[in-house]
C-alpha cells in the first residue's frame, strides 16, 4: 500500500546531506513550512543552496536557518522584507551568496525544472542588469533572455490537507510556490495541517497530485511566524 505519511518532521529528513539544494515554499510567512525548516536546522546540514521567494524574518524559520550558517547561497526574488535582518547582515559581510531572480522567472524556472524543460525564453529582465551575461534572442522582433530550469534535491512545502497518496490542497494565498516546488525536487517533503482519508479530497480539486510528493508529516497547529517574530523568539529555542 502506498503510504507517504511519516510520523515526525525529523523522520522526513533521514537522507538530508550537506550541499543539498532545497526549495522552501512560502511568500513571506504565508505557506512557509516553519516546522520543517526547524527540523532541517536540527539536522545540522550545511552548505545548503536555498530557493525561496524571501529570506525569512526575525530569528525563526528560514531566517534562523540562515542565521545558523547552514545556507551558502540564496536564490530568491526579494531578500529583504519587514523584520528581515539576518540575511542583509550576512550579505553585507559577504558571508552568503545571492542569486537574485525576478519573481516570475523564479516561478517559471522552478516549473520548468519540474516539467523536464531545461531552458526557456522570457521577456522579463531584458535590458536590465539581471540579464547580464545571459543569452538574448529575438522572436518576432522582440528581445528575450534565456533562463535555465531550477531543480532541487529537496522541497519543503506547507499545505492544508494531504492524503496517504500525497495529494494536496492548500489554503488561499499560502499556495504560492508550493505546487511548483513539489514538482521540481527529487524528494518533496510536505507538512500538512490535516491528514485525510484517500478519496476525501475531490479529484477535481486536488492541486498537487500525489505523484509529486514523497513524504507527508502532519503539523496540526503550525506556528504563526509573525507572532514568533513579534515575541522576539529565536530558533533553536
Amino acid at each position: 500500500m502506498i503510504n507517504k505519511i511519516v510520523h515526525s518532521t525529523s523522520e522526513a529528513f533521514v537522507d538530508i546531506f550537506d550541499g543539498a539544494t532545497i526549495m522552501i515554499s512560502g511568500f513571506g510567512e504565508a505557506g512557509s513550512p516553519i516546522e520543517l525548516i526547524h527540523s532541517l536546522i536540527d539536522t545540522g546540514a550545511k552548505n545548503l543552496t536555498v530557493v525561496s521567494n524571501n529570506t525569512g524574518s526575525g530569528n525563526v524559520g528560514l531566517a534562523a536557518l540562515i542565521e545558523n550558517r547552514q545556507v551558502r547561497k540564496m536564490i530568491c526574488s526579494f531578500p529583504r522584507t519587514a523584520n528581515s535582518t539576518v540575511f542583509p547582515e550576512l550579505y553585507r559581510n559577504n558571508e552568503i551568496e545571492l542569486e537574485l531572480v525576478p519573481q516570475g522567472t523564479l516561478a517559471e524556472r522552478i516549473r520548468a525544472g519540474g516539467a523536464g524543460i531545461p531552458a526557456f525564453f522570457t521577456p522579463s529582465s531584458v535590458n536590465t542588469p539581471l540579464a547580464d551575461g545571459k543569452e538574448e534572442r529575438e522572436f518576432d522582433g522582440k528581445l528575450y533572455v534565456m533562463e535555465h530550469a531550477i531543480k532541487a534535491d529537496f522541497a519543503l512545502v506547507k499545505c492544508q490537507s494531504a492524503d496517504r497518496y500525497g495529494n494536496l490542497i492548500y489554503n488561499k494565498t499560502a499556495r504560492n510556490f508550493g505546487p511548483i516546488m513539489c514538482t521540481a525536487a527529487n524528494v518533496t517533503i510536505v507538512q500538512a495541517k490535516n491528514i485525510v482519508e484517500a478519496g476525501s479530497i475531490d479529484p477535481e480539486t486536488v492541486i498537487t497530485p500525489g505523484i509529486f510528493v514523497n513524504r507527508v508529516v502532519q503539523v496540526a497547529s503550525p506556528a504563526d511566524e509573525s507572532k514568533l517574530v513579534a515575541e522576539g523568539r529565536s530558533y533553536p529555542w
Binding site: 511568500f27 513571506g28 510567512e29 504565508a30 505557506g31 521567494n53 526574488s77 526579494f78 531578500p79 529583504r80 522584507t81 519587514a82 540575511f87 542583509p88 550579505y91 553585507r92 545571492l98 537574485l100 531572480v101 525576478p102 519573481q103 516570475g104 522567472t105 523564479l106 516561478a107 517559471e108 522552478i110 516549473r111 522570457t122 521577456p123 522579463s124 529582465s125 531584458v126 535590458n127 536590465t128 542588469p129 539581471l130 492548500y170 489554503n171 488561499k172 494565498t173 499560502a174 499556495r175 504560492n176 510556490f177 508550493g178 505546487p179 511548483i180 492541486i207 504563526d224 511566524e225 509573525s226
Partner: protein
Amino acid sequence: MVTEKQIGWNRGEMAQKVANDIPDGSYVNLGIGIPELVADRVPEGIEVVYHTENGLLGMGTVPAAGSEDPELINAGKKCVTAIPGASYFHHADSFTMIRGGHLDISVLGALQISEKGDLANWSTGKPGAIPAVGGAMDLVAGVKNVWVITEHNTKDGKFKLVKECSFPLTGKGVVNTIYTNLAIIDVKKTGMFVREMAPGVSFEFLQEKTEIMLKQI
C-alpha cells in the same frame, strides 16, 4: 514658505487620478506603496478585478479588524480579502497572467523614469544595498499598460523624470503614463506629453522640476 507638497496633489489625490483612468472591467495589479491606495478610489459603477502576484485574482478590501488571515495576503504581505468570484492559483499560473499579457494595467512606484519610458524602481545600485526585485520586471515586461505613480521629485529635490536612468533598469521603454504629485504625463514615442497639471502648477514650474523636455497636448 510654500512647499511642493502644498502646491501639488497629495498621495490620496494621486491615487484618485489613477483610479479615474481605469476602464470598467479592467484586470489590474497594484504595486506596493501609493498604488495600494488606488483600489478604494475607483468610481462607483466601475468594476475592476485586482490581481496580486502571490496568487489571487479578485482581491477585496482590507479585512475587518480581528478577521485577518495570515494566509490571505497581498504582494505587500498585508492581509486582504477575496471577492465573490475570486480565484487562488500558484505562482507559475500567476505569472502566466502577468507575462502572458492578460493583465490590463500595472500600477507601480518609481525611482526614475527616462524620456523613452525606461523605468528604474528596484535598486539604487548603492554598495551595501540589498537588491530585491520581486515581480516588478515581470510586470513591466508583460502587462499591457504600465502606469507609474510617484512623487515628481526626490525628497532632496532631485529629478525623477530624467534623460537617462542612472539607477539599474526594471525595464526599457515600458512606461505608458506617469502620475506624479504635479501632473499626469503620457509617455509616447514622440515625447512626454503633459495631460493634466495639479491646481496651481504651471507648465513652466513643471518643466523646471523635470530634466526632460515636456510637451503640452
